[in-house]
Amino acid sequence: MRYFRPTSLADALAIRREHAVTVLAGGTDVYPAAATRRAWGDPSHPDILDISGLAELRGIADEGDHWRIGALATWTDLIRADLPPLLDGLKAAGRAVGGVQIQNRGTLVGNACTASPAGDGIPNLLALDAAFAVSGREVAARDFFTGYRATAVGPHDLVTAIRIPKRPGRGHFEKLGARRYLVISIAMTGLAVETDPGGRIVQARIAVGACAALARRLPALEADLAGLPLAEAPGLVAERHLAGLSPIDDVRASAAYRMAAARTLVADALAHLAGHPVARAA
């Protein structure tokens, strides 16, 4: 097994072109996957491209009309960054990931590239209309996630950053798991809502995770909420708004429960933004 740790993006892209490598930043997905294979007698591992030496991938920056979150920015970097309320959901997701150890190592870009249905960063990125910088081209979040653990990142590509367009409004994130820390989401929602001075919704962008092979926006709900007072929004979330979701039964929860929980989480998140935070029992 070879281990590449280049110090320039050009070198990294060259390695990516020439070798079949697994990209490693914080290692929080790469090592557990290897441990699972090894436990059942498969010690194989693809070559590694460790991108942690690429200075140009670090940091979170204000770039005029958007925020740039470098591919090496960790959850902790996000939590500690001075960012507008629009990105509150992303910060909340960071605080809900694993424990502090994972937040200190795991990256938002890595979370997105693993593209787990339960990736805590992903609903927020959809709701924020984020775009990915992929080997120099820009891919919108809605096009980036292509299926179960699948993305638009080709075998020769590297994601260098996420761009989040600056917009008015506030973001929020609600996660449901069966315990407090170190828990994979049963369901979650990330959303961004812009209101006018009178408290009416100008635009709501709402996504739900862990309720389909990949996180989904809820366009019907977003359309129904436009123009309504935010305070009324929680009560309007209906079953039909979740039509795009297709959850499964697994060890964490039943599909039917996930649908019901998603509806509650979305309503709770809207209530939070309307100024009525809901303290949950678990």
Partner: protein
């Protein structure tokens, strides 16, 4: 391949050759021999490997060594400029925040990271800081307390106990200093320099015929492999098991696998070779057969037999009958019944099985984590075909057990490999391997029926329970026999009929787990008691108090409780809490809020020691010619604190302070058999042996000095002074003759609890004494999401006498955490939840406030009145939580764990019914 990297470890540059992809944890442990950093899962799920990287906490199992090059790494062997780490060590010691100690290095470093960023935290932010580290022993309560002490600058040192004042003192655990320093050595921390490594090739199938082809080409292709062992290489019997007549588990599969994870071959060689040789390179062929999953499949007519000797797959039947249940039910004004179901539960000790073996001439030594060194010795001897005296078991520090390390795991195969290769051989289970292959709590299906008269007096109880014992017997018979005795709960019931079966299946073996089936059965009985209270219009506290076993009462097995039956006092101790919390709940629920409060109550009893079986313990205290005082204690401390408790007892019996002793614990060459660390027996059984040993040595000393019983002993170097008023006298120990063990004076104690055999109806005296408890739980249920938050537990436990109240509280906290997990989140499903992110145990943020009320109704048979407390707190917790959920919502849950989707479904079913 292995370029050197330089890590700044605890301020010192350390250059080490390590592959860049090797984890930082591995490089610290195997490259730099800094074994204070523990590895629990290799997946970031448990946090045991937490170190500070450039000052921030990370899981060292997720950091490539390449990324740590040139960076500052702080491990538990180090300290920080602010001195937080050293202060945390002291606070952990004083608070009893380290039990087994396997998570302690990580907890201390995580807490130091948190305190550095937030020097004045509240409890919630302490929980945030340590939330990424799992602890299975403490319930996190003492850990958070210790961190808060440091934050307030108020951490006190643990008290010392003087001569004669050890019993009842909150002294720090005797092995605690090593645990907070990170120098205690667990199974994986022993690293013989020239050791080979061993890896087991395990069946991914639950049932299959297996054939193994020619292995020579594999050895040729993997030059670092020294041997590949299969069943035919076992020198003695290829089988082991708990009971002499039930050695039904093969060391290596012989033609057949009966469970996922059954080992079929052992690779022995260099670490790189055994880890680098894929299972797929071995000529192992599986002919997969249909697996019997769950008890129903195994009991079907015509189901294949797991073991030829047991054609119907029923391993054991347990039975208890007293009075006439039909008559008893007929005498009742109300009858309640129900069917209950529990899941496999994983012990989830944070230390996976690990150790090494080495051959010393014609003897074999196995150094590994265990709860039962002499049982290990017996089975290793059997598998090697050696006499018992040729086998030495050296227990390492045990990073949690809870019953899971009572069974053999890697001991026999390590012994075989070391025996055959004449090299030390090491092995460390992966987390997944540990979870997939070792024992679990028995899943139970229980039907129960209970009646009470109009005044609420119980008139009849009956239950039938099937317990899935998995592919091998393990402790299945113990569960089948313990449950019938305990199933009615700690109450007077005249008419009882209980029947149990332990059933073989192709599932993971179920064995011993804190409570041996009693937690499962208690869920059934306590739910029925709530039913009866409801039907009879009684409150739930009163119905329990009215029936509580008291002094002079007779149990379902016909045993009269002559002493130490403190349940009435336990119930009285939390009466006010129960009714006050009921009122609070009613007020909180007024107006029909989404989040509803509820209060539950449950009681339990637990027999200390093995059921109707001899289970003696023998202890020795030796005084050397130089004045050295050695406590030779064969009882393995798995974190619960027996090394400390037994020393406190021995010290007071002798009359010298505990800090005068050196302890030797659980080495079969050096100590006597103290029996297993299980069944809440060490304080009671070994405690009596320790007391007798201390008294015996004291008697010998006093006899030499011709002193009276009240004489005071003063040991200064080799001079022992026996102070008895005017008649004081000093002995020069160096002048006394030395015996063959090097001692000049010694005392021994042997104790076997007085029990009798149970007759065909389960009548007799199965245990010498019982622990009793009552617990109240307060929960909050989110009725929309079906989630439950346990807000508060009040736990009143009759422990006879608290030898060390800090350790007693620690057992209760930890038992409550495990009971909470049993009730709300823990479900092992073979092949699906065999890691610590799919299998959930409580984290620091899931624990309620816990209020412990220690009740001391001394047992004249116990050492200084003490009884066991290891298992009780777990038992009463789940039923109290279920009762609280029901009180909050009306939903009567009969299946655990109550995962959110299950509670949600129950709430909806209830709504639909209304």
């Amino acid at each position: 391949m292995t370029p050197p990297v330089t890590l700044i470890v605890n301020g010192e540059p350390r250059t080490v050759e390590a592959p860049p992809f090797a984890t930082l944890a591995d490089t610290l442990r195997e490259g730099l021999h800094l074994t204070g950093t523990k590895v629990g899962c290799e997946a970031g799920d448990c946090g045991a490997c937490t170190v500070l990287l450039d000052g921030e906490q990370v899981c060292a199992c997720l950091v490539p060594t390449a990324q740590a090059d040139g960076r500052a790494v702080t491990t538990i062997e180090g300290s920080d400029p602010a001195g937080l780490i050293d202060r945390l060590r002291e606070a952990f010691l004083a608070r009893g925040a380290a039990q087994c100690g396997i998570c302690t290095p990580a907890m201390i470093l995580a807490a130091a990271d948190g305190l550095r960023r937030d020097p004045r935290p509240d409890r919630a932010s302490v929980e945030d800081a340590i939330g990424g580290v799992l602890c299975r022993c403490t319930g996190y309560v003492a850990i958070v307390d210790a961190v808060m002490d440091v934050a307030r600058g108020a951490n006190a040192l643990a008290p010392q106990a003087g001569a004669g004042a050890a019993v009842g003192a909150r002294i720090a655990r005797v092995d605690g200093r090593a645990k907070v320093a990170g120098t205690d050595r667990f199974g994986a921390d022993h690293q013989p320099a020239d050791a080979l490594w061993l890896r087991l090739v395990r069946s991914p199938h639950a049932a299959a015929r297996v054939t193994i082809g020619d292995l020579a080409p594999v050895l040729a292709h993997h030059p670092g492999l020294v041997r590949i062992l299969t069943a035919r290489d076992i020198p003695g019997e290829n089988s082991f098991g708990v009971f002499p007549h039930l050695k039904d588990q093969p060391v290596l599969a012989d033609g057949r696998v009966r469970m996922r994870g059954d080992p079929v071959a052992a690779l022995v060689g260099t670490r790189a070779a055994v880890e680098g040789c894929p299972d797929a390179d071995l000529p192992v062929r599986y002919e997969v057969q249909p697996a019997l999953t769950g008890v129903a499949a195994a009991l079907e007519a015509g189901a294949p037999a797991l073991h030829a000797a047991v054609p119907d797959n029923v391993l054991t039947r347990g039975r208890l009958a007293r009075g006439d249940v039909a008559l008893g039910h007929a005498a009742g004004a109300a009858t309640a019944e129900g069917r209950f179901e529990t899941a496999f539960v994983e012990h989830a000790y944070i230390e996976p099985e690990a150790g090494y073996a080495r051959r010393v001439g014609d003897r074999i030594e196995v150094t590994a984590c265990t709860q039962a060194p002499v049982m290990d010795q017996e089975d290793v001897a059997r598998v090697l075909g050696l006499p018992l005296s040729s086998v030495r078991i050296v227990p390492t520090a045990c990073g949690g057990g809870f019953g899971g390390k009572l069974d053999i795991s890697l001991q026999p195969i390590l012994a075989v490999a070391a025996w055959l290769t004449r090299r030390p051989v090491r092995m460390v289970y992966t987390r997944i391997e540990s979870m997939a292959s070792t024992t679990k709590r028995h899943p139970a299906r229980i039907s129960a029926r209970m009646s009470a008269d109009a005044a609420g007096h119980f008139t009849a109880f009956e239950m039938e329970g099937d317990f899935n014992t998995g592919a091998y017997a393990s402790w299945g018979p113990t569960v089948a026999n313990r449950v019938p005795v305990h199933a009615p709960g700690p109450y007077r019931v005249a008419h009882v009929r209980n029947r149990t079966r332990a059933v073989y299946t192709n599932d993971t073996p179920a064995g011993a787990f804190r409570g041996f089936g009693v937690p499962q059965a208690t869920i059934a009985a306590e739910t029925l008691i709530d039913d009866l209270a409801e039907r009879l219009g009684l409150d739930r506290w009163t119905i329990r108090r009215r029936n509580a076993l008291d002094h002079g009462d007779t149990t379902a097995s016909g045993q009269v409780l002559h002493a130490s039956a403190g349940l009435p006092r336990c119930l009285d101790a939390l009466r006010d809490d129960f009714f006050a919390l009921e009122k609070t709940a009613a007020a909180a629920n007024a107006g029909g809020p989404r989040r509803r409060r509820g209060v539950g109550i449950a009681c339990m009893w637990y027999g200390c020691g093995n059921t109707s079986m001899s289970n003696p313990s023998r202890m020795r205290i030796a005084l050397g010619p130089d004045g050295s005082l050695t406590f030779l204690n064969g009882a393995v401390d798995i974190g619960q604190g027996s090394s400390t408790v037994l020393l406190q007892i021995a010290a007071d019996a002798l009359g010298l302070a505990p800090d005068r002793f050196r302890s030797v614990v659980g080495d079969t060459d050096l100590t006597y058999d103290a029996g297993k660390t299980s069944a809440s027996r060490q304080t009671f059984v070994s405690g009596n042996a320790a007391r007798l040993a201390g008294e015996s040595l004291r008697a010998r000393i006093l006899a030499l000095a011709n002193a009276g019983p009240g004489a005071r002993l003063i040991l200064e170097g080799a001079r022992l002074t026996i102070a008895d008023g005017e008649a004081s006298r000093s002995l020069d120990l160096a002048a006394l003759p030395v015996d063959e063990t090097g001692a000049v004076l010694a005392g021994e104690g042997w104790y076997d609890p007085p029990t009798t055999a149970l007759d065909a109806d389960g009548q007799g005296i199965p245990y010498a004494t019982y622990g009793f408890a009552a617990q109240v739980a307060e929960v909050e249920v989110d009725t929309q999401l079906g989630t439950v938050r346990v807000r508060r537990i009040v736990a009143a436990h009759d422990v006879g006498r608290a030898i060390n109240p800090t350790l007693v509280e620690g057992q209760i906290h930890g038992g409550i955490a495990q009971g909470l997990g049993l009730a709300l989140m823990e479900e092992f499903i073979p092949g699906r939840t065999e890691n610590l992110h799919d299998y959930l145990i409580p984290t620091a943020g899931d624990m309620p406030e816990i209020d412990v009320r220690i009740i001391e109704d001394p047992d004249p048979e116990g050492p200084y009145g003490a009884k066991g407390v290891g298992e009780p707190a777990l038992v009463a917790t789940a039923p109290a939580i279920l009762g609280a959920i029901r009180h909050a919502t009306g939903a009567r849950l009969t299946r655990v764990p109550v995962l959110p989707h299950r509670l949600h479904a129950a709430l909806h079913a209830r709504e639909a019914a209304e």
